[in-house]
Amino acid sequence: MAILHTVNKSPFERDALESCLKHALAGSSVLLFEDGVAAAVDGTAYADQIKGAMENVSLFVLGEDLKARGLGEHKLIDGITVVDYKGFVELAAKNDSVQSWL
């Protein structure tokens, strides 16, 4: 099945992202939103891990949460797709189920 995994906490605060990436199978999608968007920025301590993960899973980030935190799209890891709430809904609908990593 194709799962949409969601991560809403910062990797600097919580191990949710790390755990998510350890359990997301190839072909699944991961959406970063709320404080989780911190992981989408290039050059962080987690960037290499995320780039590695992106060889198997599709990474998405919620644009509105980036904007809220003053993080410009130019700062993002290459290949991460920015979505809006409409896109969040589409991801949830397109994948077979949603698993939230809190």
Binding site: T6, F33, D35, E64, F88, V89, A92, S100, L102
Partner: protein, 130 residues
């Protein structure tokens, strides 16, 4: 597509109820159906009508009540979590011998079975929490 939404956190303290609200708005706009919104843990605190947030900020409880009315949406507050945190409707207040109730319009208090049913009946269950 039918969505059920689980909200685990209270208003303002966490972004959960804000994100859930925006998700629901977008889902409705895309023509999807919201089967139920279930409030658990501190999420039950979304349903008190006694909040007085600053005038220039969003009123989370009113927003939920308006959503419920406009779309006939089922907003369910878990009775066990509500009891722990002091959210009562008129019946519960009487039953528990309390001197008042505080639940906002559009919310109803019910059991955890409603959450399981929400998972069974919907095509997708999305959780918003901490």
């Amino acid at each position: 597509m039918k969505f059920s939404i689980l909200i685990n956190e209270g208003p303002y303290q966490h972004q959960a109820s804000d994100t859930a609200y925006k998700f629901i708005e977008a889902a409705l706009e895309a023509g999807h159906e919201i089967f139920r919104v279930f409030f658990y843990h501190d999420g039950v605190n979304n349903s008190t009508r006694y909040t007085v947030p600053p005038q220039d900020d969003r009123n989370i409880q009113v927003r939920w009540s308006e959503l419920a009315e406009k779309h006939d949406m089922d907003l369910v507050v878990c009775i066990a979590a509500a009891q722990r945190r002091g959210i009562l409707d008129e019946n519960e207040a009487k039953r528990q011998g309390k001197d008042g109730d505080n639940i906002a319009p559009g919310f109803r208090i019910s059991g955890l079975g409603q959450l399981i049913e929400a998972g069974i009946q919907a095509d997708r269950l999305v959780t918003f929490g901490d």
